[in-house]
C-alpha cells in the first residue's frame, strides 16, 4: 500500500577502498526510513504500524485529518520523551534513530519545525542559534562570530525577516506567522539532512507563505530530505512534493504523486478512510 516501502534494513557489504585493501562499509540508502512504527501515549495507540521512506533529496508530503497522529509521528521522530515506541524501527542513513537522545538526533541531522514552537524567554534568537550551531562543531573548535552573523543575516534576508529579530527572545511574543518563519530560519541555519515540517504553513498569510516556501525551496537539493505535514494543497503549489501520503488513524493509507493532494482537496478524506477500511478487512 505504500509505494515507497523498501523491504530491507541496512545491509553490510564489502567495498573496495582507495588502496588495495577491503573494508566493510555499510551499504544503506540515504534515507529516513520508518518501518511499521507503533507509538502509544497514555495507553492509547496513536501511530499504528506506520511505514514510510523519505530518500534524501526528495520532498514528501503527509496529509491527514485532525488527530490522525501526524504531529505525534513528527515528535516521535525527534525523540519526544512522552511518547512510547512500542514497535517498529526508524533509521536515518542506516543508523538506528530510536536509541539516540533528542539532541543527538538533531546533531546527526534531523530537524523538526514544530507545529507549536516553544518560547525560550530571555534567550535571543542570535544566542540560541549560535549555541545550536556551536553544538554541531567538533570539540575544541570555536564558531567564528563574523561568519556566523554573515550567514544568519543572509538567511534572514532570504526569509524576509528584519535583523532586529535576532535580539528578540526566541518565539516570545511572536505572532503565529513569525514563529513559523523563525522555525524555517533555524532550518536554514542548521542545515539538517532530514527535516520534518509540521504545519509550517498554518498561520501564514499568503505573502508569508510564498516567502517561506521560497526559503524552503532554496534549501531543496540532493542533500536534504523533507517531510512536509500540511492540511492544505495550497502549500504544495509552492513547495511541490515528489510524493504525497495520506495518514489516517495512525497509518499511511494511501500514497501517490502530487496530484493526490488535489484529489484530497476535492474529495476530503472519507474515501481514503473507506479504502483503508476495505484493506483492513481483506
Amino acid at each position: 500500500m505504500d509505494e515507497n516501502w523498501r523491504g530491507n534494513l541496512p545491509q553490510i557489504a564489502a567495498r573496495k577502498t582507495g588502496k588495495s585493501r577491503y573494508s566493510f562499509v555499510p551499504l544503506f540508502m540515504n534515507e529516513l526510513n520508518i518501518q511499521n512504527l507503533r507509538v502509544e501515549i497514555a495507553d492509547r495507540e496513536i501511530v499504528r504500524g506506520l511505514s514510510l521512506t523519505v530518500p534524501c533529496g526528495e520532498v514528501h508530503a503527509i496529509m491527514g485529518p485532525n488527530g490522525s497522529g501526524k504531529s505525534t509521528l513528527a515528535k516521535v521522530l525527534a525523540g519526544h520523551p512522552d511518547y512510547h515506541v512500542t514497535g517498529g524501527a526508524v533509521t536515518m542513513d542506516g543508523e538506528n534513530v530510536l536509541e539516540l537522545e533528542p539532541d543527538e538526533r538533531a546533531r546527526h541531522g534531523l530537524f523538526l519545525a514544530f507545529q507549536y514552537p516553544s518560547e525560550v524567554p530571555g534567550v535571543t534568537i542570535a544566542n540560541f542559534l549560535r549555541a545550536a550551531v556551536q553544538a554541531r562543531m567538533p570539540e575544541g573548535e570555536e564558531l567564528e562570530a563574523t561568519d556566523y552573523y554573515a550567514k544568519l543575516y543572509e538567511k534572514m534576508e532570504l526569509l524576509g525577516m528584519d535583523r532586529s529579530f535576532t535580539s528578540r527572545s526566541v518565539n516570545e511574543g511572536f505572532s503565529g506567522g513569525e514563529k513559523k518563519r523563525t522555525e524555517i530560519l533555524q532550518l536554514a541555519m542548521l542545515e539538517p539532512k532530514y527535516a520534518v515540517l509540521d504545519e509550517t504553513d498554518s498561520g501564514l498569510d499568503i505573502d508569508a507563505l510564498k516567502t517561506v516556501a521560497h526559503g524552503v525551496n532554496s534549501l531543496r537539493g540532493p542533500n536534504l530530505g523533507i517531510l512536509l505535514i500540511t492540511h492544505y494543497q495550497r502549500l504544495l503549489n509552492y513547495i511541490v512534493p515528489d510524493h504525497v501520503h495520506v495518514m489516517v488513524a495512525g497509518r499511511i493509507v494511501r500514497s501517490g504523486r502530487k496530484e493526490l493532494a488535489l484529489e484530497l482537496e476535492e474529495r476530503g478524506y472519507d474515501w481514503t478512510r473507506e479504502e483503508a477500511g476495505e484493506m483492513a478487512v481483506r
Binding site: 525523540g79 539532541d103 546533531r107 524567554p121 530571555g122 534567550v123 544566542n127 545550536a132 553544538a135 542548521l190
Partner: protein, 469 residues
C-alpha cells in the same frame, strides 16, 4: 568566545582545591575573651579596637539566634568548633613577586594574576584572614584613593575610619554582625576623595582555606562628595566536610552626590554558612547600588540594604540567587527611606534546582512624614524541578501621601516542552537548562559589568551541568 579575561575566574573544581598553608597564628577553636585578646595581640590592635571587640563579644553572646523567622538550620552551627582567627603572619604585599610561594600557588589555581592584568585597577586579595596581596595601580593612588586592608585602614587612617566604622551597621544589628565585630579580620578599607571618579572597578578576592575556619572580613568604604566607585568582590571556598562559617560585614557611605556600586559574585562550597550583613548609607542625591549574586553555600542569609538619609538619595539592589540541591538561599533587600524624594529599586531573581530553596525577604520602609518617595520591587523565581521551592516574604510599609510603591512577583518553571524544543536544535539537556536559566536572569545580568556577566554565565553553566543527570 573565550572568557580568559573574566574578572573572577571561578571554577567549582578549582575552587574546591586547597593547598597546605602554614599558619603562623591560630587562635584555636572556640570563642571567649581570651580569643579576642589573642586576635587583638596578634593584630596589634589599638586599644579602642580591642574594647570594641570585647563589647561586641558580649552583645554576640547575649543575642539569641534569629531562628524564630530564619532557618532552623542555623542551629547546626557549633560556635565552639570554629576557628576565629588564622593568619599566615605575612604583611600585606604590594607586588605579586612578594607573595609567599604556597599562597601564590593557590592564587594561581584561581587565576588571579590574569585578571589583575586585564581589568583591575587594584587588587586586594584576602587569603585566609589576612590580606597578603594588595596592589593599587599608580593612577588610583595618585588620585588620593586609599585602598588597603581594614587592619591597615584603622591604624593608618583612624580619622576617617573611626568616624564611620560601625555606624552604618551597629554591632547589635544582628547576632552575626556582633560576631563579626568581635572577631573581624581582613576585608578592605577604601576612601575616595571628593570629586574623584575611579575609572576601573577595584576588586577584592576572598577565599576560605582552612577547615572549620570562619572568615569574618570587615569592609568599610567611604566615597566622598561627588566621587564615584565600583567595587567588586568574588568568593570561592574549597570544599570541606565540616561546616564553615562566613560572616562578613560591609558598610558603605556615599556622601552628597556620590555613587557607589558594590558587586559580589560568590560561589561558596555546599557546606558554608554564609551570613553576611551589608548596608549602605546614601546622603543627599547619592546613589548606592548593590549587585549581589549568590551561588552555592549550605545556607546564605543576606539582605543588602540602603538607608536613604538625604533628599533625592537612591538605593538599588539587583540580586540573583541560585539554590542547588540541598541549599537554601535566603536573600533579599532592605530599603529604608529616611528623606523626601528618595527612590529605591529592588530586582531579585532566584533559581531553585532539585531540593534547593530560595527565599526572598524584602523590607521597604517609608515613614508617614516623607513626601514623594518611590519604591519598585520585582521578584521572580524560577523552579527547575518539582522538588524545588521558593517563598516570598515582602514587608512593605509605605505611609504618607505622594509616596508610591510598586511590587511584582512571579514564579515560573522551565517546561519539559521548552527543554525538548532546545534539545531538538542540538543542545544537550544541560546546555538547554543553563541557557534557559541564563535567559531567565538575562535582563538583569545585562546591567552588570561585562566581565561579571560572562563569569556569571559560566558559573550557571557549571551549576546546571551538575544538576542534570
Amino acid at each position: 568566545m573565550k572568557t580568559e579575561t573574566s574578572a573572577v575566574d571561578i571554577n567549582r573544581n578549582i575552587g574546591d582545591f586547597s593547598y597546605d598553608v602554614t599558619h603562623a597564628y591560630d587562635a584555636g577553636t572556640g570563642l571567649s575573651e581570651k580569643t579576642i585578646h589573642y586576635i587583638s595581640d596578634v593584630k596589634q590592635d589599638p586599644d579602642w579596637v580591642r574594647e570594641f571587640r570585647l563589647k561586641a563579644l558580649k552583645t554576640f553572646l547575649e543575642k539569641p539566634m534569629p531562628t524564630h523567622w530564619a532557618s532552623k538550620d542555623l542551629e547546626a552551627i557549633d560556635f565552639d568548633k570554629i576557628r576565629y582567627y588564622l593568619s599566615g603572619g605575612t604583611q600585606a604585599k604590594r607586588t605579586w613577586e612578594e607573595v609567599p610561594e604556597d599562597v601564590k600557588r593557590t592564587f594561581e589555581r584561581l587565576g588571579i594574576p590574569e585578571q589583575e592584568r586585564k581589568f583591575l585597577a587594584g587588587v586586594e586579595a584576602q587569603f585566609d584572614s589576612e590580606a597578603v596581596y594588595s596592589n593599587i595601580k599608580k593612577a588610583v593612588g595618585e588620585q588620593g584613593v586609599i585602598f588597603v586592608g581594614s587592619a591597615e585602614g584603622l591604624k593608618e587612617h583612624p580619622e576617617i575610619f573611626r568616624k564611620w566604622f560601625g555606624k552604618v551597621i551597629p554591632t547589635g544589628d544582628n547576632k552575626f554582625s556582633a560576631l563579626n565585630s568581635a572577631v573581624f579580620s581582613g576585608g578592605s578599607f577604601i576612601y575616595v576623595p571628593p570629586g574623584v571618579k575611579v575609572k576601573h572597578p577595584l576588586q577584592a578576592y576572598f577565599r576560605i582555606n582552612a577547615e572549620n575556619f570562619g572568615q569574618f572580613e570587615r569592609t568599610l568604604i567611604i566615597v566622598d562628595e561627588g566621587a564615584e566607585l565600583t567595587y567588586m568582590e568574588g568568593c570561592t571556598a574549597p570544599k570541606f566536610n565540616t561546616a564553615t562559617l562566613h560572616s562578613a560585614v560591609v558598610e558603605l557611605v556615599a556622601m552628597k552626590d556620590a555613587k557607589i556600586q558594590y558587586i559580589t559574585v560568590q560561589n561558596w562550597s555546599a557546606n558554608v554558612f554564609n551570613l553576611v550583613t551589608k548596608r549602605g548609607l546614601a546622603h543627599e542625591n547619592a546613589e548606592v547600588k548593590w549587585i549581589d549574586c549568590n551561588i552555592g553555600s549550605r545556607l546564605t542569609m543576606k539582605y543588602p540594604g540602603v538607608i536613604m538619609k538625604g533628599r533625592k538619595a537612591r538605593g538599588e539592589v539587583l540580586s540573583i540567587a541560585l539554590a542547588n540541591d540541598g541549599q537554601h538561599q535566603d536573600t533579599g533587600a532592605k530599603m529604608v527611606h529616611a528623606a523626601d524624594e528618595t527612590t529605591s529599586n529592588i530586582i531579585s531573581k532566584s533559581i531553585s534546582i532539585g531540593t534547593g530553596r530560595a527565599t526572598y525577604r524584602g523590607l521597604v520602609h517609608v515613614p508617614k512624614h516623607l513626601k514623594n518617595c518611590k519604591n519598585n520591587t520585582e521578584c521572580d523565581a524560577l523552579l527547575i524541578n518539582s522538588t524545588s521551592r521558593t517563598d516570598t516574604y515582602p514587608a512593605i510599609t509605605v505611609r504618607g501621601t505622594g509616596n508610591a510603591v510598586q511590587h511584582e512577583a512571579s514564579v515560573s518553571q522551565v517546561s519539559a516542552e521548552q527543554i525538548f524544543y532546545m534539545q531538538q536544535r542540538g543542545l544537550s539537556k544541560a546546555q538547554a537548562m543553563s541557557l534557559s536559566v541564563n535567559g531567565f536572569v538575562n535582563d538583569l545580568v545585562r546591567q552588570f559589568p561585562m566581565e561579571y556577566s560572562v563569569e556569571l554565565k559560566r558559573l550557571i553553566e557549571l551549576e546546571m551541568e551538575g544538576s542534570v543527570g
